[in-house]
Symmetry: C2
Subunit: 185 residues, 2 copies
Amino acid sequence: MDRRVARTRATLQRALIALMLRKGYDAVTVEEICTEADIGRSTFYAHFTSKEDLKRSGLEDQLRGMVQGHPAASGSERDFGFVLPFLEHARDHVDLYRALVGKGGANTTLAMLTRIVSDMVREELAKSPPIAKGPARDMATAFIAGGFVSLVTRWLDDGARLPPERLDVVFRGLVVDGLAHLAEA
Amino acid sequence: MDRRVARTRATLQRALIALMLRKGYDAVTVEEICTEADIGRSTFYAHFTSKEDLKRSGLEDQLRGMVQGHPAASGSERDFGFVLPFLEHARDHVDLYRALVGKGGANTTLAMLTRIVSDMVREELAKSPPIAKGPARDMATAFIAGGFVSLVTRWLDDGARLPPERLDVVFRGLVVDGLAHLAEA
DNA sequence: CAGAAACTGAACACTGTGTCCGGAAACTGA
DNA sequence: TCAGTTTCCGGACACAGTGTTCAGTTTCTG
């Protein structure tokens, strides 16, 4: 690939990330990106069809880099081996990830819902029986709230066919006992 | 409150939801909302400052209705009593919820990330030891993926201070053994 | 070095936003 | 019912941002 092309694309991606960190995705304009990158606006549209397209491409490039750097461990045991590489990649590219999931996603409905659910979960976790305090509890709160919202989203996208009681019992099982709960007879 | 005000606000909220279901939040314009609601555009701005404001108000009104309809069960035992009322409310207002978390959120970065992580989780769950198939497994996939993304988001927002190894072990504990894993000594 | 490809910058039409105002309509309380 | 208040209408306006086009320049590749 032409060096100019690679350079231009990378410069634009970096400019977008910098601006997202500064003021959030929604508030960023194509003109600003071009100014920040010191690249003509017509050049922008020669590479990307829109701001959204640029973001998507940046995300894809980075994720591709991640899976290449850490080839998926594919044993036959279930050990969630993708997690640590994923987290290390995130730590090594904090700016990128914070731009993606930070301010950028903070105003979405999904994020709003998750915040509300987090409050409910936090209350639950404060009840007896006692549970580890501090970071561990905060992490559990975030995990459970996000999982719940994701579960509901999936359910709705499927047409909300299963009865709420079914989701309720599966959710509680997963939260309280984890996957053990779902082991096959 | 003036009947006209209540009627106008409710009409606009319903119009937005209808349009969101049809073409997704981002693609909806204020003009379209007004046309759909058969209400003047200047009237729109007399009630809401923006499309975002309208969405937020609709969400808040509905959630307020939910918690009023089902007062939070506040026993001292941890039973996640909020879940069933929440799900029933969602089922009774499927259109609203699908508009909020369906197409509307599908294009967000958070949703994209969750989809990618879902694929990784699905692979893990396919490994031995065997696990319940069908809906239960799909639900577990959605739950775990959403929880992971939420956990990572929280971690990054806090400055990514904790080491990845710590998150890895907490995450795996929650997934495999659930909250039992975090019981205080 | 020649040909191809990419970059520039400025112009253009267009869509959508948010604000303002005078006049019509609808609601409220007496 | 009626007077006073509030809301609604609709059209106009300035403005910001989008996406496209194109002739001219620069930069890369073979």
